[in-house]
Amino acid sequence: MSGISDAELREMTQEERVNALGMTTEQLTGKSLYIEFDPDAQERFAYPWAPDVDFNKRTEIDASDLTNTEVNARIRGLMAEGYGTIVLQNPRGKHSLAVGILSRLNLIIEGSTGYFGVGLIDGPNVRISGRVGWSCAENMMSGTVIVEKNAGSTFGAAIRGGDLVCKGSVGSRTGIDMKGGTIIVGGDTGALSGFMMQRGRMVVCGNAGKNLGDSMYDGTIYVGGEIRSLGVDAVTAELTTLDKEWLTRKLTQYGLMPTTGVDHFTKIVAGKQLWNYDNLEPNEKKLIL
């Protein structure tokens, strides 16, 4: 597979491309589709259709009189022209802005976004100066998203990779169903944060609402403040030296290191009495892990 060029991939049908990229698909009779990864395939760090952008090539978009569809089309068009730094001005709470960016990009959003902002992204570095609405960065695969103010509920739902940071407080169900990556909250988080979490790490510098980590399969949650209550199968664990080093590095990186250090953080993990990966079928394991 390593010998296939991007140009060759572009010429292929979707089915041919899926096979060439090391994935096979099978439609189970009357059931859902599953994907099996080829363990011998080399990992690709960029999509074949991803534009080659230059971070030093900068431009601005004024979203005042544009719909969210027009804004997203404008971002794609500019990336195709090679712009690697895009400043989005006056977003004014519009929904679904900057979704589905599957490439490197330095995106600066000056203002606040609505629901589903920067969802389904794989690679960009995003900085948002305002607040974000519900489901920010849902299904994020990689990259960084830094929100300077508050965030709504389901912040980072089902993310699989990257760093998602909110310097203010976030709503309920933060990191619900997260499968990887890191979520960092500078303030408080609401109820049911980490609900059904499968992998990854969540750090909450402030307080956590009730039922924290309810039904979590795996992963780790660190809380610096008070925890109103733990959810089903969420248990406390010892904060190790490795945990402290990692917390210090991450929180310092984003300017959120508490003056009191990280020794007071509580570590939450799955008790694994409710669900356990070992009960899953091999193919399910590959998909989830």
């Binding site: 929904h95 606040s112 607040r131 103010k149 709504g152 509920s153 709503g171």
Partner: protein, 311 residues
């Protein structure tokens, strides 16, 4: 899905009609079936404003006979007002099926309201010394235009854009709901109440009337029941979180207060903006940005959160 919005100015009046229209129009995508307003003005000492509908909008397609019946209903309402010694200072037929009265009345407005609603096809949408409740089919822009709301001066208001899920697309199922027969109390709601019938039967046993099968009306009746029994608005909101099942966020207005409550799951959205002069809230940030294009700080209330603000 539905969208809700509210705004309250502290110690001053503003064009809440235009503000609510901008916010509700921005929420149109959450509910295009109907739009409603509960806005609070100042009709004058001892004066009451009564908004009522004498038919559903769809009834106007029934033919010529409906117009004769509407005239009969208006005559019946006028006669009842006269029998209760209510002085009609202003009478406007805003729509063929919607009227607005300004009244001078010194008796029991509850008795008068019950008497008026004995007239077939007549429903009082609101009655109070501040509240004016307007609701109709269509989006905020069309309702505001039809009812002349863009110039409404007042202190506070709440509104709703409805996506009908559990009851009909008609005016009686549209929000806000007036807390009949208690003056100046109104409610808008986004969510589903799962113990609606249990709670409704309990309220009916206590003598309260329901005009629709919409679960949101329960919150208005529930609030009215508490306020009538001396319970403060904040306490009523807190009790509702324990006693009412389901997922909900709702707003309540009285003559000089606006309150909010969010259920224990926090499954229905609300975004808050608080400043020294006013508080604005809506299901989505985009509605608040419709009246504040500049950068402002907003946040989401948490589960079981209750707030009450004074005008």
């Amino acid at each position: 899905m539905c969208g809700i919005a509210g705004i309250i100015h502290k110690g001053r009046r503003a064009n809440v009609g235009a503000e609510m229209t901008s916010m509700l129009q921005a929420l149109k995508h959450r509910g295009p079936d109907s739009t409603g307003y509960a806005v609070y003005g100042d009709p004058g000492e001892g004066e009451y404003v009564m908004r009522l509908k004498i038919a559903e909008a769809e009834d106007m397609e029934l033919g010529r006979s409906i117009h004769d019946r509407l005239e009969e209903r208006i005559e019946a309402v006028d006669a009842i007002l006269g029998s209760h010694e209510a002085e009609v200072k202003v009478k406007e037929r805003v729509r063929p099926y919607a009227l607005r009265y300004v009244l001078n009345h010194e008796g029991d407005t509850g008795d008068m309201a019950e008497h008026i609603e004995e007239t077939e096809g007549v429903e009082i949408l609101s009655l109070g010394n501040g509240l004016e409740l307007i609701k109709d089919l269509g989006d905020a822009g069309s309702v505001a235009e039809a009812y002349g709301l863009r110039d409404f001066e007042g202190t506070h208001g709440i509104g709703h854009t409805r996506m009908a899920t559990e009851s009909d697309v008609d005016i009686k199922s549209a929000h806000p709901y007036w807390a009949f027969p208690y003056n100046d109390v109104s409610v808008v709601h986004n969510g589903q109440i799962t113990n609606y019938w249990i709670m409704r039967r309990e309220m009916e046993r206590k003598g309260h009337r329901f005009m629709s099968d919409c679960d949101s009306e329960l919150l208005a009746v529930y609030t009215a029941h508490h306020l009538a029994n001396g319970v403060q608005l904040e306490e009523s909101l807190r009790r509702s979180i324990d006693e009412i099942d389901g997922v909900f966020t709702y707003l309540v207005c009285t003559k000089d207060q606006l309150g909010m409550a969010k259920d224990t799951m926090a499954a229905k959205p609300l975004v808050l903006y608080e400043s020294d002069d006013l508080i604005a809230m809506a299901s989505e940030e985009v509605a608040i940005r419709a009246i504040f294009p500049e950068e402002i700080d907003t946040h989401d209330p948490y589960d079981e959160e209750v707030r009450v603000w004074q005008a």
